[in-house]
């Protein structure tokens, strides 16, 4: 396969990747380098750092992530359907309705079980 027609895109990606990198390196070269032990401590509003940085997190984040996972994946079914909708009949609409109903049931489940509650 010859990569064709994607040349400008490739250029954009390359420039998009190179420019920030270059700027970061450039800034590092330009900037002064004093360094001191105090500067290298974790910043907690001037206090001595306490406890681990990667502790436990609210379970809610995890539940939302799971829900996101499900919905985001379902998106790859809904989007093609939407685009092809013009060529499909009523049956497709009904099928998608059923499909989304399953999603809604999942959402209702999470809702009812308190998965969406942030306490």
């Amino acid at each position: 396969m010859v990569i064709d027609g994607y040349g400008p895109l490739l250029g954009m990606i390359m420039i998009g990747a190179v420019l920030p990198t270059a700027l970061v390196i450039f800034a590092w070269l330009l900037g002064p380098k004093f360094g001191s032990r105090l500067k290298e401590t974790t910043y907690e509003c001037g206090m001595e750092p306490t406890s681990e940085a990667t502790g436990r997190f609210h379970i809610g984040y995890y539940l939302y992530a799971l829900l996101f996972f499900v919905f985001e994946i379902e998106m790859i079914y809904i989007f093609p359907w939407a685009v092809a909708f013009h060529d499909l009949g009523l049956l497709a609409l009904i099928e998608m309705f059923i499909f989304v109903t399953i999603l809604v049931i999942a959402l209702a489940y999470a809702w009812r079980k308190g998965g969406l509650q942030w306490t």
Binding site: V70, E74, I76
Partner: protein, 104 residues
């Protein structure tokens, strides 16, 4: 110009697949094992898409199964993490060599 053939994709697919297997065998961290499974599935996906493009350009069966694999892989990962969470609650670790209540 740069010319990529089916074989290149298949090499990539196999490499990913083997990398996944390797990861499963060597890692003791359960999360790494889950990630390795995803890598295996990624290898499979690459193979399907490449074959679909090169061997059967007229049909999209390969792409369809890829979409399904992605979905299922996501579900599997979600369930896997949930189960791992339950395991972690009981064992306070994700080190697989500590999961020894059952005899294997």
């Amino acid at each position: 110009m740069l010319s990529i053939t089916l074989n290149h994709f298949l090499y990539l697919a196999s490499a990913l697949f083997c990398l996944g297997i390797f990861g499963i065998i060597v890692s003791r961290n359960a999360i790494k094992v889950l990630l390795s499974i995803e890598v295996m599935l990624a290898g499979v996906t690459v193979a399907f898409v490449a074959i679909s493009r090169y061997v059967t350009p007229d049909t999209i069966e390969g792409q369809i199964i890829t979409v399904f694999i992605l979905t299922v892989a996501a579900a599997e990962a979600a369930i896997g993490l949930a189960i791992l969470l339950a395991v972690y609650r009981n064992y306070q670790t994700v080190d697989m060599s500590r999961f020894n209540l059952l005899k294997w």
